[in-house]
């Protein structure tokens, strides 16, 4: 089971770029990396998913180095509404795509 490790919390200011790095040293060959965002009192929401190199969508970018042992979620020009908890997951295909969440990174965006 690929366990993930990410910082507990990060502070930022409006307009800055926020980068959250997740470590997943035991990731298997066929596993993908997925990031979710959770606001208080809501269920998590899918942000982005990737396998290698770089993936970008309208919300974020995901950078994955060649060894795939880590990944970095990049949130460009954050606003106060980006204050949330961000979770990095590895979908463990060997375990039937069981989605296991870690503790997440609590991002606080300040004015």
């Amino acid at each position: 089971l690929a366990k993930t490790t990410q910082p507990i919390s990060m502070d930022s200011y409006e307009g800055q770029e926020v980068n959250i790095t997740c470590s997943h040293n035991n990731i298997a060959t066929n596993d993908y990396i997925t990031w979710y965002q959770q606001f208080p009192s809501q269920g998590p929401r899918f942000i982005i998913q990737g396998y290698k190199t770089k993936v970008t969508n309208e919300v974020a970018s995901l950078f994955i180095p060649a060894d795939r042992k880590s990944s970095t979620l990049s949130l460009p020009r954050v606003s106060l509404s980006d204050t949330a908890v961000y979770y990095c997951l590895v979908n463990d295909q060997a375990a039937g795509n069981k989605l296991t969440f870690g503790g997440g990174t609590r991002v606080l965006v300040k004015p």
Binding site: Y36, P44, Q93, K98, L99, F101
Partner: protein, 115 residues
């Protein structure tokens, strides 16, 4: 599409009572999950299902039971409720087939208090 619907949204149970948390999805997803989230903590997987008739334990299954008789429904049963089961419960579903493509959709949660 309603997505993933959970009922009830709130519930107060007395110690020793039982209840069923309902979860329905209309996306024809094969995979469904139940999580609990304690205040300030991450989500813990209780049970999951890869298709109708198939269920498996997650990280914290004790005190809970599930069934999956249809693709759409995945109810979670609490027998003999205990204060330690006070939490917010989330149901989720995903396609779950093949490589990648594991975007999970979550319900709005059920806030359960056991007193």
């Amino acid at each position: 599409n309603a997505g993933v619907t959970q009922t009830p949204k709130f519930r107060i149970l007395k110690i020793g009572q039982s209840m069923t948390l309902q979860c329905t999805q209309d996306m024809n997803h094969n995979y469904m999950y139940w999580y609990r989230q304690d205040p300030g903590m991450g989500l813990k997987l209780i049970y999951y299902s890869v298709g109708a008739g198939i269920t498996d334990k997650g990280e914290v299954p004790n005190g809970y039971n599930v069934s999956r008789s249809t693709t759409e429904d995945f109810p979670l049963r609490l027998e003999l409720a205990a204060p330690s089961q006070t939490s917010v419960y989330f149901c989720a579903s995903s396609k779950g087939w093949g490589t990648g493509n594991t975007e999970a959709f979550f319900g709005q949660g059920t806030r359960l208090t056991v007193v």
